[in-house]
Structure formats: structure tokens, C-alpha cells
């Protein structure tokens, strides 16, 4: 599978090895990390969950689109799910191609599309004790915040 999930830390060495190709002259990767702040809040940890059955299909479609749009050799994306700490890697994208330009372009395309299209959700836990689902709480019809710690 060229798009997959893991509940364990992402093995970037193994993932890079899957891309090796003697016809490739370059390799580009992107790592998304858990950041300690978002929209003015101090973040302490994150939880990711996914609708995996559809997410894998949509992720595979994104990779297939990237391979059609850009003349690259191979592409792979691995997304973490579960509870993550600050600094942990949440997502990894790797591309190899004959030349570097299209590898950068394809890598950017894949991470952008994954963020917009794949059914994955992220819950942030804040220093304040509050928590919230990113993109779901502030724009919800009712302004009340969801508190998990009763």
C-alpha cells in the first residue's frame, strides 16, 4: 500500500528503503511533527483517529493522482494514529524521481491533498486542561466547547 496508517512510530528508514530505484536521481521527504502551539493555545499532546477504510482508499487515490501529474518514480505516505507527544512525527511523505523538481512538487501535492481530503481527525490537548477537535469546534453551530475531563 502506498498510503497506510501505523499506531507505532513511523519507520522512516524502512519507508525510504521502499522507494529505492536505480532510475531515481533524487529523493524528497516531508515529516509533519507535533507542534507545541496552535492558534494561540499551548498544546501538550495530540490524538489522531481515522476512518481507515475510506482514508486508505482516498490516500491511494491521492498518490495515484500525484504519479499521473508529476513524472516521479515512486511515492509513499504513512500517517500515525493514536496518542502522540510533542515532537512526535504524525505523517511522512516520500518521493523519488529522476530529477529533483518534480519530486518536490509531488511531495507538496501529496501532503496538501492528504490534509484536505483524507478522513483523519486531530484532537489537541492544551496546557489549560481544555481540548478540542481541530477544524470542528470553533466553526460549530453551537459555541459551547466540548470538555472531556469531567
Amino acid at each position: 500500500m502506498r498510503f497506510r496508517f501505523t499506531e507505532s512510530p513511523i519507520d522512516t528508514v524502512g519507508a525510504r528503503r521502499e522507494l529505492l530505484d536505480l532510475g531515481a536521481g533524487g529523493y524528497v521527504s516531508f515529516e509533519g511533527w507535533v507542534r507545541d502551539h496552535n492558534e494561540g493555545q499551548e498544546v501538550t499532546r495530540l490524538e489522531y483517529e481515522a476512518f481507515q477504510e475510506l482514508a486508505v482508499k482516498e490516500g491511494e487515490r491521492i498518490i495515484a493522482e500525484a504519479l499521473r501529474r508529476f513524472p516521479v518514480k515512486h511515492a509513499l505516505c504513512i500517517h500515525r494514529i493514536g496518542s502522540l507527544d510533542l515532537g512526535d512525527m504524525a505523517v511522512w511523505v516520500g518521493i523519488c524521481s529522476a530529477h529533483r523538481g518534480e519530486a518536490f512538487d509531488a511531495c507538496r501535492f501529496i501532503i496538501d491533498e492528504v490534509k484536505h481530503r483524507v478522513p483523519i481527525w486531530k484532537k489537541e490537548h492544551y496546557r489549560s486542561g481544555d481540548s478540542g477537535w481541530v477544524n470542528c469546534e470553533r466553526c460549530a453551530a453551537a459555541p459551547n466547547h466540548i470538555h472531556e475531563h469531567a
Binding site: 509533519g32 489522531y48 483517529e49 481515522a50 476512518f51 477504510e53 475510506l54 482508499k57 500517517h79 504524525a90 505523517v91 501532503i111 492528504v114 490534509k115 484536505h116 481530503r117 483524507v118 478522513p119 483523519i120 481527525w121 486531530k122 484532537k123 477537535w133 481541530v134 477544524n135 470542528c136 469546534e137 466553526c139 460549530a140 453551530a141 453551537a142 459551547n144 466540548i146 472531556e148
Partner: protein, 79 residues
């Protein structure tokens, strides 16, 4: 008819469950969402959601059949 519903993220918390089998007269995902808003008080508006039937993206007006698995998809935040 009976439908299988799976809930994720904010909607899982608001429904207090991750899945259920429901006896309903709702014949489209749009009608079903209206019914579930009444039941669980979901705060997300339908316009913010996508919907999947049997693990593929679907139109809101699709005719549902007995045994279909429906998932409402809140705004995503991968990466």
C-alpha cells in the same frame, strides 16, 4: 429499515458511542443526519460534513438501502 452508523471524532464524543445499528425511516443521508441531530444534538451543521455510504463518499440525496453503513465525516485535520 436498519442502518449501521459509525461515529468518529467530535461526533463520536457527542453521540457517546462509536457505532450503532438504527431502525429508521430516513431514506437519504440528509434525512438521517436530521434525525440524528435531534437525537444527539450534534453541533456540526450538515454543510460542514461529508458523508460516506459503504465506505465510499456519497451524495446527501442518495437513496439508502437496508443494511447500508453510513459515516458522517466532520471537517478533517490530518497531517
Amino acid at each position: 429499515m436498519q442502518l449501521k452508523i459509525h461515529y468518529y471524532a467530535l461526533m463520536r464524543e457527542q453521540a457517546g458511542r462509536s457505532e450503532e445499528t438504527l431502525e429508521t425511516s430516513a431514506d437519504t443521508p440528509a434525512a438521517l443526519y436530521g434525525e440524528l441531530v435531534d437525537r444527539y444534538g450534534f453541533t456540526l451543521m450538515r454543510e460542514q460534513l461529508k458523508v460516506a455510504v459503504n465506505s465510499e463518499f456519497s451524495d446527501w440525496g442518495r437513496a439508502l438501502a437496508a443494511g447500508d453503513a453510513v459515516v458522517f465525516i466532520p471537517p478533517v485535520a490530518g497531517g
